[in-house]
Each structure stands twice: as structure tokens, then as C-alpha cells.
Symmetry: C2
Subunit: 198 residues, 2 copies
Amino acid sequence: MTPRRTGRRPGNPDTREAILAAARTAFAERGFDATSIRVIATAAGVDPALVHHYFGSKDQLFRATVDIPVDPAALLPAVLAGTPDEVGERLVRLFLGVWDSPTGAAAVALLRSATNNEWTARLMREFLVTQVLRRVLDHLDVAPDELPLRGSLVASQMIGLAMMRYVIRLEPVASADPETLVAALGPTVQRYLTGDLG
Amino acid sequence: MTPRRTGRRPGNPDTREAILAAARTAFAERGFDATSIRVIATAAGVDPALVHHYFGSKDQLFRATVDIPVDPAALLPAVLAGTPDEVGERLVRLFLGVWDSPTGAAAVALLRSATNNEWTARLMREFLVTQVLRRVLDHLDVAPDELPLRGSLVASQMIGLAMMRYVIRLEPVASADPETLVAALGPTVQRYLTGDLG
């Protein structure tokens, strides 16, 4: 039986799935940077042009593999603009805005999956480093050799916030007003990004 | 076939398992505080004295249900003693000492399970609040109405550290020297415990 197809995205669903499966494997095994559209197309047995046709850029394909409907490249500029010493607060506010919204369900699902599946954990790691942290740190005046530590410290606080608010649901963090959390966590993220780490 | 039993703990393994199952259900459904040894014994169909005989105190039984071989009551005094403005650093150092040790595997397993199972999440929440945070905060000069927020903020940073170091394994946090993390995270935990939260 051929399923009836609706919606705006044309093409063969089997081909789309084959490309997504090849992309997941390649991104998890090689990492985002070392993976090319060409490599994914070869693994899926299709022409690279078809990958671009279905998914757009490598960034867009990567977000499709981790099933996150948020584009950090579109959201982060507003965070990175403005006074540099409030970037921590703005980052926490953006994070809560996304995770508190209906979109957040996909992020929570990814987080759950990443804790129980090494491949999803690798994809999440690649997502954090290449799609989020690299973009934030590119815009701050930080020594390049400090970027990885600062970035992973920020990630530790943000993922811990997500765990407590959406997964473990520890009160009062679970139902706190977003601005309470922005005030509490903003200075932490700010220090991890630009402050003295001892 | 009756399995051959070894080791030092006497008694019927079925009875032990029945008590543990009843305890897990009661702790998850009612919470730690509202659960008594008597309630658990009734649910398991045994005498309360047998529960004490097998597991000792309610604290010890609770730790057995979450399968954590660490007793916060035994470890925390060393953290809480000494200069109050370095309690954050000492707490991070203790946390890393436990999770970096062979014992940490049980904690990582609990963390994985809690992200995918609502009941384990409830048990983890109860463990954090009643076994860890309440003990820390009892010894610090903090307004009682601020305790829950401060405690859950500390938990957010600690669980986030565990996620990044042991589960997602984001570098350099995953393999950083413990003292690097103590220096980086200690001031965060200190501020959450005793500082200005905005």
C-alpha cells in the first residue's frame, strides 16, 4: 500500500529517510565538521543535489537529524547583540523561551534520548558545539584556547537547568517564573563566558 | 531450581525484593517524608521489624531503593565544616570524588534511568531534596523560605556537570582535572547557596 502524501514537501519519503539515516550515522561517527553533503549522498546512494533539494544546507540537514526545529543561527544574533556584560542573562532568557514553548518538547525528547543512546549523545554534543556554543563564543572577546572550557561550562549549567525544570522537575526550578531563573543563572553563564574561572 | 546463596546477608531473597518493591512504590508515590517503615511493611506483607532487620533505618532503605551505595549523611559533615565561604568548592570536590570513583557508575545509571522513567525521577528528586540538599542547607545561615530555590539551583549545576562529564561527555569538561572544575563551579555553587540571586 502506498501511503497518501500531503503537505508541501515533495519527493520520495524512502529517499528522505535514507538520507536522514546516512546523515545521522555520518554526523555521529565523523562529527559535524568532517562530514560533507557528498559523503552523506554517497552513503544514501543519491546525488548530492538531491540532498540539498530535500534539506537545504548542511546545517539544516544536521538539525533535521537531531529533530530540533530551532535554528540557533536565527535566534542567537539577538542574544549576542547588546551589552556584552548581560549576554549571560539574555542566553538564559532565550534558552527558557525555546524550552518553555511547544518546541521544547523536541528538545526534551532529544535530551532523554541522549542519556540512553551513545549515538544521540554524540549528535547532541556536535549540536551544542557547532550550532550553539561556537556561534556564541565567536562573538565574544575570549581567548581561543579558553573557548572549549567556557562553552562546556555554559552547557553544563544549561543542560542541568533543562534536567531540573523539564525532566526531574525539582521545585521550585520546575515551575519558577523565567525571570527568576534569568536573574539566578544569568551571572553564572556570564562568568563562564567572560569571567575569571580560577 | 533454588539459587545457591552466598554472601553475608541472611534471609529470604523474595522477602527482601518484596520489601524493596513496596518501598520504591511508596517513596515514589508519597514522597520520603510521608512514607513510614510501617506502611512499607504492610504493603510488602511483612512485620516492620523485618524491614528494620534487612535494611536498617528508613534512610538506609531509601538508599537501597535508589541503588546508591553512598551515604550523604556520612560524607556531608566534612563539606559543611570549615570556612562557610568555601562550602561551594568543597561540595563540588565531594561530588566529583564520588562520581569519578567506581561508585559513580551507580549514580550515572540512576541519572540515565531518571530521564526515562517518571518514577525513578520522583525517587531521584526525593533523594536530592531529603538526603543531600536538606542536609547541606540545614548547616548554612540561609533564610528558610529561600532554601528550596537555592537547593534546586545547586542541583541544576551539579546534575548538569554530571550530564556533561559522564553522559554527554562534552570536552573538556568530560576529562578535565577535578580541581579545574572545582575552581570553575565552586563559586557558582557558593553563590546559589549563600549569595545574591537577584
